[in-house]
């Protein structure tokens, strides 16, 4: 009987530790950071300013204009692709589908897929791609934009994309980038690896539960 008591106590302790762990878990913040010293109420205060995604303007598969303001109060995942990509894009979007299905009913979540081939991937082409993928509504936006704007924004997501090479292929990273409501980079995942994408789904849930994400509108 005495032993049983110890065992129960141990189990409770174990649960307690685990419980604490998951409630305090937060994701790291990536990108450049700069210390900024300000004067608040006559006192010098040093704060860290993190890299954020700059302002942008693209058009989604419905022909709607999407800017950084469309993402206010949203946690989102960004990636880069093109509809005729024979290499990693089908793998990335095959892996993205479960993420879409998991969060499609959450109004504070978005997926942004930037086409790096704006010449071919016009708005109707992107709409057709969305229909064939079986995605509807406003959770997953396929974005068309000026090539320079897309290539510039890729850099701010720390993703490398390049123009057509000698084999007439575009080359680009297959990363999924997780952005928080303050437009900071909170995770990068290899979109071609189902295990990493599963980790991303878990991380999105952790991020959604962070107090400053819940508070942000």
């Amino acid at each position: 009987m005495k032993n049983t008591g110890y065992i129960i106590a141990l189990i409770l302790l174990g649960c307690g530790c685990k419980f604490n762990d998951s409630t305090t878990k937060t994701l790291p913040i990536y990108g450049n950071k700069e210390p900024v010293t300000k004067t608040v109420n006559g006192k010098q205060v040093t704060d860290t300013v993190y890299q954020t995604i700059p302002a942008f303007k693209f058009v989604n598969q419905y022909g709607d204009t999407i800017t950084e303001k469309s993402l206010d109060g949203k946690i989102y995942v960004a990636d880069f692709f093109f509809t005729t990509c024979p290499t990693i894009c089908p793998v990335m979007h095959r892996n993205m589908l479960p993420v879409y299905n998991e969060f499609k009913n959450n109004p504070d979540f978005r997926i942004l897929s930037h086409s790096i081939d704006p010449k071919y991937d016009t708005v109707p082409v992107l709409k057709k791609y969305a229909d064939k993928m079986g995605i509807a509504g406003n959770t997953w936006w396929l974005l068309h934009g000026n090539k320079d704007a897309t290539y510039t924004i890729a850099k701010s997501y720390l993703v490398a994309v390049q123009e057509k090479n000698a084999q007439e292929n575009y080359t680009h990273d297959g990363f999924f980038i997780l952005i928080d409501k303050q437009k900071r980079i909170r995770g990068t995942y290899q979109g071609t690896d189902p295990a990493e994408v599963e980790k991303m789904t878990a991380d999105i849930k952790i991020l959604m539960a962070e107090p400053d994400q819940k508070a942000a509108k």
Partner: protein, 138 residues
């Protein structure tokens, strides 16, 4: 004495028959396992590790009836690419599959793999068949 002759002849026949069968099986195994390597390198990104395709964008490879009905033109599809509408499992697809740069041997290997995986069972497609099919491409 006579009985021994009959028995040994029978045994010899059995051995020959089974070795023939083995050779066929060996050829199949060779094509199939090399085909799985070709598949991973050239087909899997789009068609998926289980031949599942991708939604309405990329057809699956599990439609045994389609594969059977088009067995003699599959080599041409791989060699020249495929454009236009096709029906797979009663669903219409109209994307474009790029032409592969595979050799006839690789085409034979990968077709043996695909037509004997994902629930399909069409037997070996060897290089001679592929060359004959390729000669008849439209």
């Amino acid at each position: 004495m006579k009985i021994w002759l009959i028995v040994s002849a029978f045994v010899a026949m059995l051995v020959i028959a089974s070795s023939c069968q083995n050779e066929g099986q060996i050829e199949f195994n060779r094509f199939y396992s090399n085909g799985s390597v070709v598949y991973q390198a050239h087909c899997q990104n789009c068609h998926g590790a289980k031949g599942e395709g991708l939604q309405g964008l990329i057809p699956s490879l599990i439609d045994s009836i389609y594969l059977k009905n088009n067995k003699n033109t599959l080599a041409c599809q791989l060699n020249n690419g495929l454009k236009g509408k096709i029906m797979i499992l009663n669903k219409e697809f109209e994307g474009e599959m790029p032409a592969s740069k595979l050799s006839p041997l690789e085409i034979a290997q990968v077709l043996t793999y695909v037509t004997n995986s994902f629930g399909n069972k069409l037997g070996t497609i060897n290089t001679d068949q592929v060359n004959a099919d390729l000669a008849k491409c439209k």
